[in-house]
Every structure is written in C-alpha cells, then in structure tokens.
C-alpha cells in the first residue's frame, strides 16, 4: 500500500520553506550615528546632514538613530561625547569644526568606526587626516576652504564699497581658525589698499566694552571673524547696533548674519556641506571595503543684503548680481 501522507507532508514543508525563504524580508539592523556639533553656528549643517539621510529613505527612530551632542566649543564635553560614541559602538560619527573632529579623531583611534567631518579647516595640517587624496583610518570629510576664499571678502567689500579704507576685525588669536583666517585676509587687504584694524577681543564682553568706548570709530567697515566671541548673541547685537549707528558695512560669516544687517557674506553653504557629508556617510555605511575617500573642498557662495546696501547708499553691480545671490530686495 502506498502511503502518501509523508510525501505530501515533505513536499508541503519544502514549499512552505521556499515560500518563507522567498518572501522573507531583508530587515537590516538600524544604524546609529553619533553627531558632534562643534559650535551652534553649524547647527544647520547637522540638520541638513540628518535631513539628507531621511531623503535617502532612512527613517529616523526606526532605521537610523542620531545621537547629537552640542559641543559649544567645549573641548572636554566633545571629548567625553566621542568616547561615549566609541563605548556605545555607533556605526559612524559625524563631527563638525576642528574641535569636534579632533575630539572624535582621538577617541576613534584604534577602532573601526568611520568618521565624516565637515566645516574643518586645514584637516591635513591639523592632523585630522594623513592625506587629502586618500586619508586612512576610516576618516574623511569636507575641508572648509575658508583660507582659500576668505581674501575674496575684502575684494568683494572694495567692489561693493570702494570708499572703505580701514576694516575692524575683533579677533581671538587662540581660537584654531584664526590662523587660517587672518593671513589671506591680510594679503587681500594689502592688495586692495585696505588697512586692517585687528584687535584682540576674545570674549563677548570685551567686544561690547571696546565698542562702547568707540565714540568716533577710526575704521569704516567691520569684518566678523570665524571666532565664537563676536558670534555670541550679545556681542553680535552690539556689533550690529554699532554698525547701524555709524553706517558701517559689516562682512558676515554666514547667510544668517545677513538678516541682522550684514552687507554680504562670502561663505560656505553649511546646508550643502551637511548634505554632502551625509552622501559620503551613506556611501561609507554601505561600503564593506572601507576604501579611503578623498577630502572634498567646500566651495563658497556669495549672498548680498540688498537692504543693507541701500541703507549704506551702495550699488550692487550686475557682475556681483550674477556672481552671487542678492537677498531682501524690495
């Protein structure tokens, strides 16, 4: 007698196995990305970094988790955050500014956790990478080319306000970016016949006090350096009030500065830096070979404040209009 039951069961089981195998989902482990925001000025960089992941199909809280720490230029805080990322074995670290990237570079040493950085000046010279073309140690990112283009700010200022002869720059010499910022500005000023009034003012209070003491300023323009002190809200407000009071053009550091009255800003697009960083990070996370990725240079964009120009009696030429973007036009 032929017993068909075992045959039917076996074939049924095989079919179910095939069905399960073919219908099985490819559930991937959610990714954990640690983010170190060096200073809050670059908050839009980390936001666009996260947004770019969402645009690539990741779901925050489900397929990807972001653990963002606001460093506020506090090196100890950033060091501790990076060490925690290592302990918690995140899949990738995204760091902004030299302070954030430096802290992560030190913490990630000896691990295979990749790091992507943005808004970092002279990454080779500051030891964050060992090569710009093929950096080792799972580290790559976007180089802030401020030193390449910051001289252009003086050139554009003289183009927009040809009568400017002396520019005041409140500086914090000890701040890491200052050494990348100051030399090209000095060169451009010399070439364009502009004198610089560089004053060491490393706290917001010092800046406020200095301006309060200036009843009749000796300078006819202000340049905001990439230092925390003049970006602090009270110091920044004091600078802008002073500039408005004395009808002085102010060169900003970011497009955000323009809405507070800066004449123009020739800066890197922080949003785009974040998007590019996310693109590299996504590539690294899916790249099992962990090949070295070259460091990308950031490219500057020009934004001109039409209202500020009008208030100062300046004309924005067609060439500059073509070169950059004019904002707040009425």
């Amino acid at each position: 007698m032929l017993n068909t039951k075992p045959f039917v069961q076996a074939v049924g089981a095989a079919l179910i196995s095939v069905l399960l195998a073919s219908c099985g989902g490819d559930e991937a482990k959610p990714l954990r990305v640690g983010i170190v925001l060096g200073v809050n000025t670059f908050k839009n960089t980390t936001e666009s970094f996260k947004q770019a992941f969402v645009e690539r199909g990741y779901i925050e809280g489900q397929t990807i988790f972001f653990d963002e720490v606001e460093g506020n230029a506090n090196q100890a805080l950033m060091n501790e955050a990076c060490q925690r990322f290592v302990r918690e074995k995140v899949d990738l670290v995204f760091a902004t500014t030299n302070g954030g990237a430096g802290a992560c570079k030190a913490a990630l040493k000896g691990t295979d956790i990749p790091m992507v950085f943005a808004v970092v000046m002279a990454p080779l010279e500051s030891g964050i990478v060992d090569s710009l073309e093929a950096p080792s140690g799972n580290v790559t990112g976007i180089r802030n080319g401020l030193s390449d283009f910051v001289g252009k700010r003086i050139e554009i200022l003289t183009h927009l306000a040809p009568d400017v002869t002396r520019v005041w720059i409140p500086i914090t010499s000890s701040y890491p970016t200052t050494k990348h910022f100051l030399p090209p500005v000095q060169r451009a000023a010399a070439h364009n016949g502009v004198a610089l009034d560089i004053v060491e003012l490393d706290t917001p209070m010092k800046i406020i006090d200095y301006l309060n003491a200036q009843t009749s300023p000796s300078f006819d323009a202000i340049m905001l350096p990439p230092n925390p002190a003049p970006q602090a809200s009270d110091a920044f407000a004091a600078i802008m009030n002073f500039a408005r009071e004395h009808a002085l053009p102010v060169i900003g550091n970011s497009v955000n500065n323009l809405k507070h009255g800066c004449l123009f800003s020739y800066h890197i697009d922080n949003n785009e830096e974040g998007r590019i960083a996310a693109m590299i990070a996504a590539k690294i996370l899916t790249d099992e070979k962990r090949i070295p990725y070259p460091i990308i240079n950031s490219e500057p964009v020009l934004h001109v404040n039409s209202q500020a120009a009008q208030r100062l009696g300046l004309t924005i030429g067609d060439d500059l209009r073509a070169f950059g973007e004019v904002l707040y036009e009425q």
């Binding site: 007698m1 032929l2 068909t4 045959f7 039917v8 074939v11 049924g12 095989a14 079919l15 095939v18 069905l19 073919s22 690539r56 199909g57 790559t140 080319g145 390449d148 283009f149 001289g151 252009k152 003086i154 050139e155 090209p184 060169r187 451009a188 070439h191 364009n192 590019i276 693109m279 590299i280 996504a282 590539k283 899916t286 790249d287 070979k289 090949i291 990725y293 070259p294 460091i295 990308i296 240079n297 490219e299 500057p300 964009v301 067609d318 060439d319 500059l320 209009r321 073509a322 070169f323 950059g324």
Partner: protein
C-alpha cells in the same frame, strides 16, 4: 503419425503464500502520473520563467537607458547653455571696447551664471591671459599663463569650441575641465578666446539633481574613460578612470544606448547603460547593482518557481489520487481472489472502476461461482466416499475399518481417562446352514435384520456396532464395565431370539440365534486393543463351545484358554 511426444501443458504459478515481487501498479501509476504531470509543469513553467526573466531584464535595461538618457540630456543642456553663454559673451567683447573693466565684467558674468567655473580667463590672439576672474582666489593671487602651445589653443584657433580633459587648476589646485570658446571680430578674424576652468563638482551638481536611489550612480566620462562628473561627489575626486576596453566599447556604439554587466570601481557587479554625447565626445552612464537591476526578474523567477513547485505538488497529488482510484478495484479484486482461494465465497466483487476492471470482476465472479459449485460437489462426493469407506455395504453398519479406527480411538481415550472399555464379539449360530438352506439372498436379508436389531438395542451414541466379517458382528462399549457389557450382550441375544427369524436347519433352535463373547478391560499403555479383541474372541469361542445362543464374559485379559466364564 507423428512420433513427437508432447509435454504436458504447464502453468507456472507463484508459490502459495509467498509475497508478490516486482513493482506495485499503484506506485508505478502514481510515479508515472505525478512524474509526467510534474515534468510537464516544470518544463512549461521553466520556459515561461525564462521568458519572464528575459522580459524583465529587458524592461530593467530600458528603464536604465531612460535614466542614462536623462543624465545625458541634463549634461548636454548644461554644457550647451554654458558654451552658448560663452559664445554670446565673445560677441559682446569684440563689439565693445576691449578694456580690462569689460573683460572682468564679462568673466564675472560667466562665473555668476555658471557656478561650476572656478576661473574665467580671456586670452588675446597670442594665447596670453589678459584678464582673469576666480571664484575663490583673489585677483592678486591669480596666475596668468600662456596657452600658445597647447591643444586647446590649436583648437580655438580653428574656430572650434574646446573641451579638455581633466587637469589641475593652477590657481585653485582643484581638478577641472578646460572649456574654451574662440573670440572673433565682425570679419570673422580670430582675436583670442574665453577660457573657463569647469569644476568637476559642477557636473556633480547637475547629476545629483537626478534624485538617484541608494546604490545607483550616474556619471559622465570623457573619451579616455576619466570620470568627469559623478552623482557621488567623492567618486569624482577619486579620479576614477574606467577600464580602457570598456571605454572603447562604450564609445564604439554611438548610435544608441548600450547595456552591459560589469564590475565598477567599488568591485560591485553592476548593470551599466551608456549614452554617448557626440557633441562633446563624452558619455553619460547610469549604473545600478545587478542584484537590484534584476530584482523584478529574480522575483518573477522565484514566483514562477513557487507556482511551478505548487503545480508539480498538486499534479503529484492528483496523480496519486488517480492511481489510487485506478488500482483500488484491482486491490479489491486481489483481496477477493485471495479469499476465494481460501474458499470464502462471501466477499462481494467490485462493481465499479474502469470497464476492464468491471469485466475482470465479472469474469472472476463467474469463476468463483463455478468454483463454489465444483467445490460443493466435490465435498459431497468426498463425504459420500468417506462415508462409504467406513460402512458395510450390505448391512449399513460400520465396517471393519471403521471398527478398527473407533476401537483404537476409544482405547486411547480410556487409557487417558482410566475408564473401562468393553467389547462384544457376536456370531450368528450355524449361519452356513442358513445360507445353504435358504440361499445367499435370504442369508443377506438375515444379516440385514440382525444388523437392524443390534443397532436398535445398542442405543448409546458412544457405542458402536460393526460388521466384523461374514456373520460376525462386534460392539464397542466405551466406559462400560463387564456387568454392563454382559447386560447389553444379553439384551442383544434376547432381541435376536425374539425376532424369531426362521432357521429350520439350526441345531440350536428353529430360529436364528447368536453367540456372544464379552471382554472388558481397563486399557493400559502396555496393552493393545488387539488383546481385547482376542479375549472377546476367546469368550465367543467359549460361548459356541458351550452350545451357542449364550453370552460368555471374560473379565480381564488373561492368557489364551483361561477364560473365566459366567
């Protein structure tokens, strides 16, 4: 006459009780049906699956080609607009006064309109840069170079637009592509050129607008295979150079898109579709991982395979069911035939199944019916023969053979039960004289009458009356002592006497009389029934010797001649 001797016709039959050997018809049918239907499902499904796979693959390639053409169009439009703007600017330059201010204004205009330009230069008729604007570097830091002996210069001198390979900008150190447009005056005389250093990042900006999915890549290569623009910016900066053979292959087919599977720079197997931009001698390429490209095809194959397997499974089940349906009546027939072989004719033969099976069933039924009749007749004949073999033909009493069997059986029973066994041996007195006087027919009739009397008198079912031979009769009385046996013998003698069968020539009386020898023994293993017969015979002899028509009893087996008469 033929002398060929014919061997008897032999039918080879399997040994009764031996298990049948060979393949089961059910298995054979099941395997055949299931196998054939499954094979059919697999072959047809396989063909369809392959067809679907090719169709899905073709669809994937078409889809990729569409995207590659989109990328090509994006790049082409961008480059056209860029070159067109540069050409328009040249008109402005030769129309207006060639002053530094105008030069700078024109270059700033170009750099403003196309963010991809790192620098813009104006070359005079000698190939010397006379004006330059950089997006990044300040004017005082710019280098002014001589392009006189470069391929670019020889191209623009011929009035053609130049599109260079990847080089490193002397001013920004960034990888750039040189684009140059000749400047001519109103008479068409060559006056110089506008040169732009196009950042590779610029093409990335255009390609990144394509909204690529993860794992997809769109890029542009020049005729050397150098990647000029890539949807992933880092890939541009890595200075990727496509394999020479692949590059040649891509540029050899300019008429339409081409598709091929290859391994990309990241060692991934990709499906790559390329479209050549003839105007610039570039090619736009769109690639996606092979696994993703063929995912719909693979899904189709998996679904088809599952459907095939399910079809094959159900085909197998149906095959088995059909085989069962076909073979069940045969199995029934086989079982019924087995029961018939055991002379069990009660089973009902199947009246369903195929015509052949029904016909076989009917034939088997007819054969069974005939067999039942034959067996019944045979049984009756056998019973009759058996009965006849144990019965005396004349008197109807048990014959000598039956007597021997019965005595032997009762002897052993008595040995086991330790009971007594008696035997009466009797003889018609002067029967020879009866025959002589009345004839043998009358003699036979006399024997019949005596037999009837003996049978009637010996009433117990366990007692046996038999004709011992001639006019001698014998009666076996199990579990009967000598007293009982003597009583029965006396009853017999009286009954025969009372029957008063005429016997005029008898020397004892005018009627038939009989003499009786009775022997009774408790049987033992060391004795035999023969001794009981001999003892009874001696008693009979004694009865005859004593004058006949009497009963002589011997109580025990004693040596011959030592009869204790009563």
């Amino acid at each position: 006459m033929s002398n060929i001797s014919q061997t008897p016709h032999e039918t080879k039959l399997p040994r009764p009780g031996a298990p049948p050997r060979g393949l089961s018809l059910r298995v054979l049918l099941a395997v055949s049906f299931a196998g054939l239907i499954s094979l059919s499902a697999l072959i047809s499904g396989g063909i369809l699956t392959w067809h679907n796979f090719l169709s899905e693959r073709e669809t994937a390639i078409h889809s990729l080609a569409f995207r590659a053409e989109g990328a090509a169009m994006e790049i082409s439009n961008l480059m056209s607009a860029m070159v067109s703007t540069m050409q328009t600017t040249t008109h402005f330059l030769h129309d207006g006064a060639a002053e530094d201010k105008n030069f700078t204004h024109a270059l700033t205009h170009i750099l403003g309109k196309f963010k991809g330009f790192q620098t813009g230069s104006i070359l005079n008729a000698s190939g010397r840069e006379v004006a330059k604007v950089s997006r990044i570097v300040t004017t005082n830091e710019l280098t002014f170079v001589d392009y006189l002996d470069t391929p670019m210069w020889s191209t623009v001198q011929k009035g053609k637009t130049y599109l260079g390979s990847v080089s490193i900008s002397k001013d920004t150190s960034a990888p750039v592509v040189l684009v140059a447009v000749p400047i001519k005056d109103n008479l068409g005389q060559f006056k110089g050129a506008i040169v732009g250093e196009l950042s590779l990042r610029f093409l990335w900006g255009a390609l990144s607008k394509l909204q690529l999915s993860t794992g997809h890549a769109a890029y542009v290569i020049n005729h050397n295979g150098r990647v000029l623009g890539h949807s992933l910016l880092v890939q541009v900066l890595r200075g990727i150079q496509l394999d020479e053979g692949l590059t040649k292959d891509i540029f050899s087919q300019r008429s339409a898109y081409t598709a091929r599977e290859t391994v990309n720079i990241d060692d991934q197997n990709v499906l790559l579709v390329s479209v050549v931009l003839d105007e610039y001698d570039w090619a736009a390429i769109y690639e996606i991982p092979v696994t993703e490209a063929y995912l719909p095809a693979f899904r189709s194959v998996v679904i088809s395979a599952i459907v095939m397997l399910i079809s094959a499974f159900f085909a197998a089940v149906i095959g088995i069911v059909i085989a069962k349906h076909l073979t069940r009546p045969l199995q029934h027939l086989s079982e019924t035939a087995s029961r018939i072989a055991k002379e069990d004719f009660s089973s009902k033969l199947p009246d369903h199944g195929t015509l052949e099976i029904q016909s076989l069933s009917m034939a088997l039924g007819a054969m069974a019916a005939r067999l039942e009749t034959v067996l019944s007749d045979l049984s009756k004949a056998k019973e009759k023969a058996e009965r006849q073999s144990l019965q005396d033909g004349l008197t109807g009493l048990a014959n000598r053979r039956r007597f021997d069997q019965y005595l032997d059986r009762e002897w052993h029973r008595a040995v086991r039960a330790q009971t007594k066994l008696s035997l009466i041996l009797m003889d018609i007195d002067h029967f020879k004289l009866f025959n002589d006087h009345y004839g043998h027919s009358a003699g036979d009739e006399c024997l019949k009458q005596v037999s009837i009397i003996l049978s009637e008198v010996v009433g117990r079912g366990t007692d046996l009356v038999a004709r011992y031979g001639g006019e001698e009769f014998v009666c076996v009385l199990p579990d009967t002592d000598s007293k009982g046996a003597k009583l029965i013998a006396e009853n017999l003698r009286t009954a025969v006497t009372c029957a008063a069968i005429a016997h005029e020539t008898s020397k004892v009386a005018d009627y038939v009389t009989m003499s009786f020898g009775v022997a009774t023994v408790p049987p033992r293993n060391d004795t035999s029934p023969l001794e009981l017969i001999e003892t009874a015979d001696q008693a009979l002899y004694q009865a005859k010797a004593d004058g006949r028509n009497r009963v002589v009893v011997s109580d025990a087996i004693n040596p011959i001649g030592n009869i204790v008469a009563r």
